[in-house]
Amino acid sequence: MNKVVKDKVEGLAGIESNMTIMLGGFGLCGIPENSISRLVEMGVTGLTCISNNAGVDDFGLGLLLQGKQIKKMISSYVGENDEFERQMLSGELEVDLIPQGSLAERCRAGGAGIPAFFTPAGYGTEVAEGKEVREYNGKPHILETALTADFAIVKAWKGDTAGNLVYKATARNFNPMMAMAGKITIAEVEELVPAGELNPNEIHTPGIFVQRIFQGEKFEKRIEQRTTRQKH
C-alpha cells in the first residue's frame, strides 16, 4: 500500500482550526519540524496540542505559540519557554499537565483500544483531583483515560512507501505511541525508501498506523542543551 504524499503541503491537508493534534518529540529531539513549519503557514488556530513539551521560544511548538495558534496544551513539562509561561499565567493558554509516563500510556491506550487504566502516578497530588481511586495490591491507583487525536504528526529517521517507520536513538520517544493514536497519522521522515528496503525485523512502527508519509525538506535538528566534555 502506498502512503506517500508529495510534501508537507499535501501531508498536512485537512488539518483545520480547533482540531486536536498529537506531535511527537521530547524537547526538540524527534519533533516533526517540517510539519510544524507547515502548521505556521496554514495559520490554523484554536488547536489542542498533545505533546510532551512545548518547544522553545523560537523553535518547535514555540513557533505555534508565538502565532497564538494553540488554545490548549496537554504536556508533561513546559519549562524553558517564556512565551508559554506568559500565555499560561495570563490565562490565554489552557494547560493540562500530565505525568510523563501517564501521557505516554494514555496515547498508547488510545491507539490500542483501551479506554482507561489505573496507574499509581499522581495519587495524592493535584493530578488525582476528580479521578477515581482504586486499590490494587494494597496501593492506591488513579484512573486515567486514553488520548486520541484528529491528526498525529510523527517524525522518523527512515520510512518506506508502505508507511513503516524506523526511529533513531532517543528521537523515538513519544512518536510510536502517537502514531498509533491518531485518526490520521502523518509521518515526516529524513529518508524515504521503497517498500522492501527496510528490514522487517527492525521496523519500530508498522505501516498500519501511518496514513501519510513524506520526506522532510530540511531538518535543522536544533540541540537544546549542548553539553560536551574535553578530550584529555
Binding site: Q100, G101, S102, A121, Y167, A169, T170, K221, T228
Partner: protein
C-alpha cells in the same frame, strides 16, 4: 563544613550496588554518574528512552538525536538500547529500575515530596517525576538542606503542591544523610565537620537523633 553538590553526589554514589539499573534526575543527581565506586557496574536509564547512558560527548561529536531527560547531549555505552516513552515508563512503573535519585524543593517527615510547581510563580510541569516517585521502591532525594533564603526544606508537612506521597525513604543533603520512617526523619550520618546541632537547627520536621551520629566518609 557542609558538602557542595559534588559531595552530595559522591555520598549518594556509595549507595549504588552492582547490577542495578538507576534513573538519575536533573541537577545534583546527574553528577552521581561521575562517582561510581570501583568494582560496581550499573546502567543508567534516562526516561526519554535510553538504557546504558554514557558520558557527555566530546566536543564536535554531539548528536541531536541522542539526549538525556535534561535534554543534554549524551553518548551511549556498549550494550545500550533505545526505546519509546511507554516502554521507558513500563521499566519505571513496573519496578525494573532499582534506584531513582531526584531533586526536591521540599520533603516531609512522612515521605512526601514536592518538586514540580510553585503556585503563581513557576509552573514547569512534573515531567516524569510523579511516575518515578509513585513506583520506585528505592528513592533517594538529593538536595540542599535549606533553600537559598535559609529556610529548611525538611518539613513536618510540604507547603508546595505534592509530587508524591509517602514515597521518600532516604535524603542526602549538604549537611546529612537522613532516613524517613514511622513519620519522622532519622539522622544517619552527618557531613564532615557538621555538628548534630547544626542539623537539628536546619531541620523543621521531627528529627530522631541517635546517641552516636557517624561522620560521612567521602
Amino acid at each position: 563544613m557542609s558538602l557542595d553538590k559534588t559531595g552530595i553526589a559522591k555520598r549518594i554514589a556509595q549507595e549504588l550496588r552492582n547490577g542495578w539499573y538507576v534513573n538519575l534526575g536533573i541537577g545534583i543527581p546527574t553528577l552521581v554518574a561521575n562517582y561510581i565506586p570501583e568494582g560496581i557496574e550499573v546502567e543508567f536509564q534516562s526516561e526519554n528512552g535510553i538504557l546504558g547512558m554514557g558520558p557527555f560527548p566530546f566536543d564536535g561529536e554531539e548528536d541531536a538525536d541522542l539526549i538525556n531527560a535534561g535534554k543534554q547531549t549524551i553518548t551511549a555505552m556498549d550494550g545500550a538500547v533505545y526505546f519509546d516513552s511507554a516502554t521507558s515508563f513500563a521499566m519505571i512503573r513496573g519496578q525494573h529500575v532499582q534506584l531513582t535519585v531526584l531533586g526536591a524543593m521540599e520533603v516531609s517527615q512522612d515521605g512526601n515530596i514536592a518538586n514540580w510547581k510553585i503556585p503563581g510563580k513557576m509552573v514547569k510541569g512534573m515531567g516524569g517525576a510523579m511516575d518515578l516517585v509513585a513506583s520506585a521502591d528505592n528513592i533517594i532525594v538529593a538536595m540542599m538542606h535549606s533553600n537559598k533564603a535559609g529556610v529548611s526544606k525538611m518539613l513536618k508537612e510540604c507547603s508546595l503542591p505534592l509530587t508524591g506521597v509517602g514515597c521518600v525513604k532516604k535524603v542526602v543533603t549538604n549537611l546529612a544523610v537522613l532516613d524517613i520512617k514511622d513519620g519522622k526523619f532519622h539522622l544517619v550520618e552527618r557531613a564532615p565537620g557538621v555538628s548534630v546541632e547544626e542539623i537539628v537547627t536546619a531541620t523543621a520536621g521531627d528529627l530522631v537523633v541517635p546517641n552516636h551520629v557517624p561522620e560521612m566518609k567521602i
